[in-house]
């Protein structure tokens, strides 16, 4: 059963609260801090009330507990079976982890049970030794804040790794890097060497901040509205109904993804029209002029 209270944030909060009570570090402020960190916006009302009224006889009025041991929960069978499914996925080799403890566990599902039917065919080679080594070096650098020396398409780069970005559609990892305030994206499969250099504190809050927007008008025919809202659900967006069949949609995207977005918009044909900015309108017009010159009849 996926939706079960033992996975819930109220149980998680109580686990943390009990552990503080065992360490004699529990106060009302600490309880509120835990609730704010792990539960929902209104949870403090319910949890505080139940603790105060001792509906849950787990914490006494003076912030002690009758329990004797730090609270931990063993994994459920559902969790173990999901982990077992992971062990069957080809990408798991990247993480070099052992699943020996799950020998007697049945997977929750196998690769025969599902298909990513529209994934691109030139995904990364996840069993390539160099690829795995580079992947793990990058993860280590991210965790321990190392600067990397990377050989990429025969060029040497020195960079801060900021994120390992994965696309299910491309089935590829890309390394997002930062150097001298410039962001660069490197395809992991094209990195031929990757080494740790010096360790340095680093934080990049500007990744993905440089957003552009495009305004579209959608004519809802052939379920275009639903298709568009699903298709663009990965992007931040605003939508508004103009009249019975017409909608205005604003999409926010990264500049580097502009060509891809252009193609996605084209896939809707005449049911989706770019309104603004004019520069984007011109990009569509150029494609249409080229199409006209193809003489398709």
């Amino acid at each position: 059963m996926i939706f079960h209270e033992i996975y819930g944030c109220y149980y998680l909060c109580m686990e943390k609260i009990i552990n503080h009570a065992l360490n004699h570090t529990l106060t009302q402020d600490k309880i509120l801090e835990i609730i704010n960190q792990y539960a929902f916006e209104d949870s403090h009302i319910e949890i505080m009330s139940h603790l105060k009224n001792q509906d849950w006889p787990l914490i006494t009025q003076d912030y002690h507990t009758p329990l004797h041991h730090p609270s931990t929960r063993p994994l459920t069978l559902l969790e173990k079976r999901w982990l077992k499914s992971l062990s069957l996925d080809p990408r798991i080799q990247l993480f070099s982890i052992s699943f020996d403890n799950l020998d007697d566990i049945e997977p929750l599902f196998t690769n025969d049970d599902y298909l990513i039917y529209d994934q691109y065919l030139d995904g990364d080679c996840f069993d390539d030794e160099l690829y795995i080594k580079n992947f793990q070096t990058i993860l280590y650098a991210l965790e321990n804040q190392f600067i990397l020396k990377v050989t990429y398409q025969n060029k040497q780069l020195i960079c801060h790794p900021t994120k390992l970005e994965y696309s299910l559609k491309d089935n590829k990892f890309r390394l997002k890097t930062s150097h001298d305030h410039f962001h660069k994206t490197l395809n992991l499969s094209k990195i031929t060497n990757c080494e740790l250099t010096q360790q340095t504190a680093f934080q990049d809050n500007k990744l993905y901040q440089n957003k552009q927007s495009v305004i579209l008008e959608l004519y809802d025919e052939r379920s275009a509205l639903e298709r568009a809202m699903m298709q663009f659900a990965d992007l931040q967006k605003k939508a508004e109904q103009i009249n019975d069949k017409t909608y205005r949609i604003e999409l926010f995207y990264q500049k580097e993804d502009e060509t891809e977005l252009l193609i996605r918009i084209l896939s809707f044909g005449p049911l989706l029209k770019v309104i603004e900015p004019q520069r984007f309108v011109q990009l569509i017009q150029e494609r249409l002029k080229l199409q006209l010159s193809c003489g398709l009849r």
Partner: protein, 406 residues
Amino acid sequence: MGYSELIKHFDRIRNYMHEFYIYGFKDRNQITHKSKRSYDNEKRRLESYLKDFMSFQYTTSKTVFLSIDSRQMTYNPLYKAFEAKSFTHKDITLHFYILDILYDDSQSLTFQEILNKVDEYLALFPQTMHFDESTLRKKLKEYVNLGILTTTHLGKQVYYQRTKPTDLSSYQYALSYYSEIFPLGVIGHYMLNQLQSPQYFSFKHHYISRAIDSEIMAKIFDAMKQKKSIYLIHHHNQSYHIVPLRLYISSQNGRCHLLAYSYRYKQIKTFRIDHIKDIKLSEDCDCFDDYRTRLKQIEKHIWSVQCHEKQPLEHVSMTIQILPHEQYVLQRLQREKRHGTITQINDTSYEFSIDIYDTYEILPWIRTFIGRILKLNFSNRTIENQFKEDIKKMYELYQIKGSDES
């Protein structure tokens, strides 16, 4: 009954999450699943669960939407709603008491021993909660079924122990990756909650809304594992008796479909997961492997998810212009062709062709080559003509000069 943040059944918020996340422009009057009061309560719940992501805007009326740039997310915020299952005072009390009494896997106690210890814990509190034997027995049985506890039998006596602990620390990177990209990732999210997990991954083309249908997907996987047929209740309340064969997940629009053998139609049919209201497991299906083999045999003719086994295949071919210096376009064609074939016609043109069940499904992809399409040849002429009409409409929409003569 007053408002409560927690809910007994996830179904209660499932439709609202789809509405707020996918659409985002409907106001209180346009969302008509249930009463306006129900709308207010579910909106309030979702605002509480997803506090940082809910937004609203005013145009003619107030609309609520979930505003999420999935590329900036290192985890799927929709998983948080799965942490809202309601429980009783006795549930939460017994949970912590039992796990404290059986604090490691060397502790092996009988039912009576556990009951006595529960009473010892309760004695510290003036307003004593009382547990009758059946409540404790039910909870122990539930935890054995969940896999948290195990039992051993010595003579007539049953002993309870907690199951062996699993050290998750070596799994933390894998969990933070797979919880986002793997089916039923919410289960990985539950495990991540037990770790201090730094987030080093980000995700592009990330469709997080699949999470909303996790319960349905889990039931389908369960049926497949057991090779059972199911009764699928559609959101319009029709019921279908089917054998679930494979989930078809899109990485390009976030949709998920079930391909299943239908007893009524005696062929493989397609069902959208977000349109499934409920699933009930039925009897064992002896032909499960045969049906699955049948699906594998026709898979190369399914462009996306539609298969009409009893209808003839439709031929689709497209010739596009690729100049010698535009090898990246050829690479694009090769990686996106699925089961299609590519033939070089001359130095500057290539033909893509495929035989599929439903030409409609491939149209959006063909449109992405607008600017290069030299020739189309669809056996379904109606769709070919419609495609060409659509291109003419686009010329008009964008005021392309010279299109009148085309």
